[in-house]
Amino acid sequence: MAINRNFNIKVSRRRFLGRSALGSLALGGLPQTLNHLGLMNAAADEVTLTDYKALVCVFLRGGCDMNNFLIPRGTNPQANRYTNNRGIVAIPNGSTSADGDDTIPLSAHNGDDFGFHPSLNKMAAMFNSGELSMLANCGNLSEVVTRANYQTATLPVQLFSHSDQVTQWMAGSQPDKPFSSGWGGRIAKNFGTEANNLNPQGKSSMLITVSGTSDFLSSPGGSVPQYAVSDNGAISVAGYGANYQNAITAANKYKNNNNGKRLAAFEDVMLHRHKHILEEGYNTVVRRARANEGIIGESLATATATGVDFDGIFPDTDLGRELKMVAQLIAGRNCLGNNRQIFFVDQGGFDTHQDINADLPVLLTQLDDAIGAFNEAMKQLAANDSDFDYNDVIGFQASDFNRTWTPNGSSFASSGTDHAWGTNAFLFGGPVNGGQIFGNIPQLQIGGADDVPSGSRGRWIPTTAVEQYSAVLAKWLGVPPVDIDTIFPNLSRFSDPFDISASGPNLDLIDFLA
């Protein structure tokens, strides 16, 4: 639906609003100072953020087969079970039953031998150098579930369903309630209150997604908008050329042509206030989006000025480009003005019901390259920018669920694995207590203590709830302890994630003093 046929603007109102009431943000190439354009905020003075933290969520869509990510190998008591049960989809792991060893050895976990999938060279190096850790057997839970109480416990709604499990992960679980907000969005709202505002100089949203609308960044009632950034260019108003080059001069003035006049008129129209709530709401979205284009443009220019070769570091893959954008925005954080920032990126394709032996290595290679590049970029940024520290950023991974322990066929070429439950997750960054496997390694056995009692494919009942995992990350970001239960209302149903004693849930994921 055109806004005004005379302007010939090909942007649908529904689609524009449907981008979660976002700002569409321009990327590099925009004029740095946009004072002359009616809707663009004047490029405000940069602030110097001395206390900065960023959380980066890497979501693997489809349910990554984490049984082939973290692999018991060699002398591990479960190594033979892995080989025998995983059958045609097993990675040779050096067990007595295996034919060779293709895994990448990790530093021993409590004496047990584990390795990564052979595609994860960079991440294995990060693990062994203390920059990355794993969390075992985590998943959505309404309450503590065991094999004994499985038939009577309240299970997550629509367990094994993609969209429901994704939504529950992003909500910080609470699977017994309808989705209302993501836990990232709730943190942003929490920080926006007068009492807890840790972004007093913020010029842009605390919530930035490079992967389209994200439930993780959905705030209660839309109170804090999430901003979408494209990884390959601005989602600009169409009809004015790339980066408005047909309408704006190099001196940042409207061109004296039809495009320039139309853009000027369009922005004048957007400045009008409306009594009708929907009309005003639409215009507010546009005004906000256009106002942020300049801010983001400056941020990216600042990133370039740091001297970090982002283009050279990051691979040209979907996830690589998304994480590159995140890294650049972190480098240009002073323009965004937020002391606390939450980013969201994702990688799809992990629903490997078929062809897992062909597809998973490719996916994990892309993941490995992108994560390794991001880690390297953070190190280089810390070296080039005296106001930035490698300890300022944590990346954490999530996914719909794990996949079945056993394959669904006997063909090497076409077999795959199906939906399961408890999964492994990784987190990385300076503050992470790296080189460890936290949580509880499940008994990897069909019909074993951690297997769902119904079924015969090996689906692990989580021993760590998503709430517990997320609460640790939220606390690091700066959520006051008194507000943790507000962000994660079901947290009290599980053991205290901050109890790092020997009797605790083994979630000492982060060095809070780093």
């Binding site: 629509q158 367990l159 094994f160 994200s214 019901h353």
Partner: protein, 237 residues
């Protein structure tokens, strides 16, 4: 002097009496206790009259309804519904009451409490009929799942074939049976096999989207001859 007729004095007396009565009655009308109808609005009834109109004994008066609650109305066949909005309860006719599945003529209740959905059972018996094309097997299953969703509001929560079929055979909250327990194409583990003897794959996309896939004649999942409905989740915006 002519004499007065004899009735004149009598008439005078009667007339005087009537006048007196009228005067007395008028005086009484003024000073008598007022009835409820004569009083203007808001004026309290004098104590004597009020005693006659004292409130009925407070027995059998139901507590006020909470928003959303119902109770039978005073007239047979009616229901009083307290709406969620502020305001007095409304009476609605029972003909507008939405029937439950227990009123549904298509459902048979068994002695053990199961609810058999006959239409769906009959549809399931057409599965794998040699007179219908293989593609229709998937569509029949989709329709059966549709019956299930109609009664249970969402798909079976299941990760494997036999778990889905168990749910369709009555292992669900409503104990609705939409698939026959003695179907000839169930294997010993309770999996529903396609017409080539391979278990169907049920791909849970969401609470209301369940894709159904058959491995096809070559009995290999993921090959070109697979049959599937083709439901997919939309990509995020």
């Amino acid at each position: 002097m002519p004499q007065q007729p004899t009735w004149v004095p009598i008439l005078k007396k009667v007339t005087a009496g009537v006048i007196v009565l009228v005067m007395v009655y008028g005086l009484y009308s003024i000073i008598r206790p007022a009835s409820r109808q004569d009083l203007p609005q808001g004026v309290p009834v004098p104590r004597k009259a009020a005693a006659k109109t004292a409130a009925l004994p407070e027995k059998n008066i139901a507590p006020p309804l909470q928003p959303g609650q119902t109770r039978p109305g005073t007239r047979p066949g009616t229901l009083i519904v307290q709406p969620f909005q502020p305001g007095p309860p409304k009476e609605i006719s029972s003909k507008y009451r939405v029937p439950s599945h227990r009123d549904d003529a298509r459902i048979t209740r068994t002695d053990d409490g199961r609810l058999i959905f006959e239409q769906s059972i009959n549809l399931a018996r057409q599965l794998h009929d040699k007179d219908i094309p293989a593609e229709e097997d998937i569509q029949i299953l989709d329709a059966i799942l549709g019956y299930y969703r109609m009664m249970n509001k969402s798909n079976p929560v299941a990760g494997e074939n036999f778990e889905v079929i168990n749910s369709l055979m009555g292992k669900n909250k409503q104990s609705i049976v939409v698939f026959p327990t003695n179907h000839p194409d169930l294997d010993e583990n309770g999996n529903l096999l396609d017409r080539w003897g391979t278990p169907y794959f049920f791909h849970a996309l969401s609470a209301t989207l369940l894709d159904i896939q058959s491995a096809g004649p070559d009995r290999q999942r993921g090959s070109a001859d697979d049959l599937k409905l083709g439901y997919e989740l939309p990509e995020p915006d």
